[in-house]
């Protein structure tokens, strides 16, 4: 059965800290791994990773995928209170019925 496991489940940091969020996956017909940020409502897309070892970067956020060890990390440097959210990781099963396999998410709280 496909699964995606995220850790930690919850994290509280102070502004300016750097955080690393982990995501491990077991997904058949794996094609890509996606990171989303969920604040109050719908998840918003952050990154899609398809190749091992190539870092994707957007401002203070960066992410990398290891397809050999089946995990990904999301780094946030110099955290701000606006980074407080649930960060969701999802593995994409690109079989006949394309679907995302979601993790439980990491709840990040950034305190001033």
């Amino acid at each position: 059965e496909d699964k995606v496991v995220q850790s930690p489940l919850s994290l509280v940091v102070h502004e300016g800290d750097t955080v690393t969020l982990n995501c491990s996956y077991e997904v058949t017909n794996f094609r890509s791994l996606l990171w989303y940020k969920q604040e109050k409502k719908a998840p918003t897309f952050l990154f899609m990773l398809t190749s091992s070892g190539i870092e994707k970067k957007s401002g203070r956020l960066s992410s990398i995928l290891d397809k050999k060890e089946l995990f990904s990390i999301l780094n946030i440097t110099a955290t701000q209170t606006g980074d407080s959210a649930i960060y969701l990781c999802a593995g994409f099963n690109a079989g006949n019925n394309r679907k995302l396999i979601w993790g439980l998410g990491t709840s990040l709280a950034v305190n001033p």
Partner: protein, 114 residues
């Protein structure tokens, strides 16, 4: 920038009533999805839809649920006889064929069943 839209944003209904949640996917997308998220829990896959038929559905998507694409733009989720445990945020998502996994989500409909 094109986006997925959903209506209504919040719906309150009594147990046993039928509800229809509406979504307008991005116009050139071909795969459509419904997810739900019960408060405090993870996003759960309900159903995927392609070429005017269901591609896959989860165990949550029982006979109470149905989906339809009544015209070229709308994608609807119907719950025939709502139960208290159907209270959740319902998200619609769409993806363009050939784009591997990049699903775009609508803002969600909060369904409250009393």
């Amino acid at each position: 920038e094109p986006e997925v839209t959903q209506t209504p944003s919040h719906q309150v209904t009594q147990m046993g009533q039928e509800v229809i949640l509406r979504c307008v996917p991005i116009s050139n997308h071909l795969y459509f999805y419904w997810y739900r998220q019960i408060l405090g829990q993870k996003v759960e896959f309900l159903v995927s839809f392609y070429n005017n038929e269901i591609s896959e559905k989860s165990e949550i998507f029982d006979d109470q649920f149905s989906v339809e694409r009544p015209d070229g733009s709308n994608f609807t989720l119907k719950i025939r006889s709502t139960k208290l445990e159907d209270s959740a945020m319902y998200f619609c998502a769409s993806t363009e064929r050939g784009v591997s996994g990049e699903q775009y989500f609508g803002p969600g409909t909060r369904l409250t069943v009393t």
